[in-house]
């Protein structure tokens, strides 16, 4: 078995059969990180010692026949999740020395299930970005071509899995930050229903949108990780109380009769023709599997980017007000007074994109503009949600491209924020509505991965994963690996 690109299921089996030990597996990935990550910059910090300690404990459990579902599986975690005693930076100078005093609930759940954390992955600062060029720790490079961006904001998590530096990773998605990098690195990435996974211990960007999720090689792997990340958490008042199904046990049945809505607003002018071709071919695969394609409209999709870039900055301006240079985070030197301390600490600690979004959010929430911007954006959010509610009266899943283009060169859109924001035009509406959505590999455009986005109804991650799994049983796109990575 090629350990580099093995699935969770393969690794679970290999560990239980003692074909490989957890220590060997962990060391294998650590060696690959040492060798390959200097060119990718997908990790901000590596936890070699604690990972090997955990691997030793995992081997003892395996020897005793006491393995939990993820015992011995090495994963990477986006550096937005607090891990007690470990540096947690959110890709920002502001938190470059922050040691987390507690562990995020979903990370704790993964550890309880036996997963081993190899390290924390690079990301756009405070998850604000679509290219992973906004990190204080430098840009991440796409394993498919190091001259290209890996997508963002969970670009480090995507690059690490795509390069075979870990078995799977965690990400967060506020407007597409799991799905878009998954698409650009040839992975399966799932943003669950808002509230499915606790946000406790996950550094906040926009609290009504932020949602954690798995980034994996296959839909089955995503189902396995989701089972162990999801569930009610009394420490997060927005966490859902619904029980978590065993997603990985209901992937097998066929999808004959599945009604797939093809959203006409997702096939717009800015869509790369090669991406569109791959998506149309993927839809034809679904037809061959017995699904029915249904034309659907989500008429307010064109307004989603506008509404998002009011709501998300407004929430970010409130959330990031906590960084004042006093209790934690960067503090400027020799402040003249309290106001100077606040302003210079924040000015030095935050990067340009973060400062811009804080100012946009402050504007949208300020007297005289609140109704015309924030209130209006929230009304459009309802219209977008209603679009989905109506569409799901007629279809089970909605399909379309995840991103309008494949991965693009580093620096290409850095000076054009609007073009960068439009990268998320197909992913933002599901975030605003709070419905689950995922990206799966669906072809190559000019030799680069293309992501098919599948969107489900509220709490319907099961059928979504089933549709993704059945596609992966009929296609090989998810098995492709970057050509240059050994």
């Amino acid at each position: 078995m090629n350990l580099n690109f093995a699935t969770l299921t393969d690794l679970q089996k290999a560990l239980r059969n003692r074909d490989v030990s957890a220590t060997e597996l962990t060391q294998h990935y650590l060696t690959r990180i040492d060798a390959l990550d200097p060119a990718l910059n997908s990790f901000i910090s590596i936890q070699a010692e604690t990972a090997l300690d955990a691997a030793g404990r995992a081997d003892a459990r395996l020897a005793q026949g006491d393995a939990r579902p993820l015992t011995g599986i090495p994963i990477a975690q986006k550096d937005i999740f607090c891990l007690q005693g470990h540096r947690t930076t959110a890709g920002s100078k502001m938190l470059s020395d922050f040691i987390a005093p507690y562990t995020a609930t979903c990370s704790e759940k993964l550890a309880d299930a036996g997963a081993i954390t190899l390290g924390k992955t690079n990301m756009d600062e405070f998850a604000m970005g679509s290219s992973n060029e906004n990190s204080y720790f430098g840009a991440v490079h796409n394993p498919w071509d190091p001259q290209l961006i890996p997508g963002g904001s969970s670009g480090g998590s995507a690059a690490a899995v795509a390069a075979g530096l870990c078995a799977a990773s965690t990400g967060t998605d506020t407007g597409g930050s799991i799905r878009q990098p998954a698409a650009m690195c040839g992975l399966t990435g799932l943003k669950p229903t808002y509230g499915r996974i606790s946000r406790w211990g996950m550094i906040a960007f926009a609290s009504s949108l932020d949602q954690a999720g798995p980034m994996t090689r296959t839909a089955r792997d995503a189902a396995i990780l989701l089972e162990h990340m999801a569930g009610h958490d009394p420490r997060d008042s927005t966490s859902l109380t619904e029980p978590v199904p065993r997603f990985s046990e209901s992937l097998g049945s066929n999808i004959k009769g599945l009604r797939i809505g093809v959203c006409r607003e997702f096939f717009t002018e800015g869509l790369d023709p090669a991406v569109e071709r791959s998506i149309r071919e993927a839809l034809a695969v679904y037809e061959s599997l017995g699904a029915t394609l249904v034309d659907v409209s989500l008429p307010h999709t064109p307004y989603s980017v506008s509404a998002y870039y009011v709501i998300a900055p407004a929430e970010c301006s409130a959330n990031l007000a906590r960084f004042d240079g006093i209790r934690y985070g960067h503090r400027c030197s020799d402040p003249e007074n309290l106001q100077d301390l606040y302003q210079r600490s924040r000015g030095e600690g935050f990067g340009e994109e973060v400062k811009k979004r804080i100012l946009v959010g402050t504007f949208a929430l300020s007297a005289g503009y609140f109704d015309a911007f924030y209130h209006r954006a929230q009304k459009i959010r309802r219209l977008i949600k209603e679009d989905f509610v109506q569409a799901f009266e007629h279809v089970d899943v909605i399909a379309g491209p995840t991103a309008p283009t494949p991965a693009f060169p580093l620096g290409e859109k850095a000076s054009n924020p609007v073009e960068m924001y439009l990268q998320d035009i197909f992913t933002i509406s599901a975030s605003l509505a709070g419905v689950p959505a995922m990206s799966i590999p669906a072809g190559l455009a000019n030799g680069l991965p293309v992501g098919l986005q599948l969107i489900g109804n509220y709490l319907q991650e099961g059928p979504l994963l089933q549709a993704a799994h059945q596609f992966q049983q009929a296609t090989h796109w998810h098995t492709l690996t970057p050509p240059e990575v050994l």
Binding site: Q84, D97, F98, I99, P101, Y194, G195, H232, P234, S237, T238, L240, T241, Y303, V305, S306, Y309, V310, D324, G325, I326, R327, Y328, H330, E336, N337, L338, Q339, L341, Y342, Q343, R346, G347, F350, K356, I358, L359, V360, T362, F363, A364, S366, Y369, A372, F373, R376, A377, Q378, K379, I380, R381, R382, L383, K385, P417, V418, Y421, L432, G434, V435
Partner: protein, 97 residues
């Protein structure tokens, strides 16, 4: 759409956001903000007169815990991240002369 943010508004926003006005950067900041606000301005063309705003995507009540202490945290785990902390106090510049 005319530029919504001018130099005066930028000063007000910077104060509200506790961000410094960086010398020589105000033109670039103004341009960047107005570019985003022009994009955002597209939503002004939609009639939303009878639409209720949506704050939470699932429109549920938040599940609240009983108002009682359930766990504690070691204060030193928190204070180790403070830039200036002594004798259980967070230090700031003198506020009252």
């Amino acid at each position: 759409m005319n530029d919504l943010v001018n130099e005066t508004t930028l000063v007000e926003l910077s104060t509200l956001a506790a961000l410094p006005l960086e010398p020589g950067k105000s033109k670039a900041t103004l341009d960047a903000l107005n570019e985003v606000l022009a994009l955002v301005g597209q939503m002004q063309s939609l009639d939303v007169a009878n639409v209720r705003p949506l704050a939470h995507p699932l429109e549920r009540h938040q599940s609240l815990r009983a108002d009682s202490v359930t766990e504690t945290i070691n204060p030193s785990a928190l204070s180790q991240n403070a830039p200036l902390y002594e004798a259980s106090l967070y230090f700031v510049p003198k506020v009252i002369e």
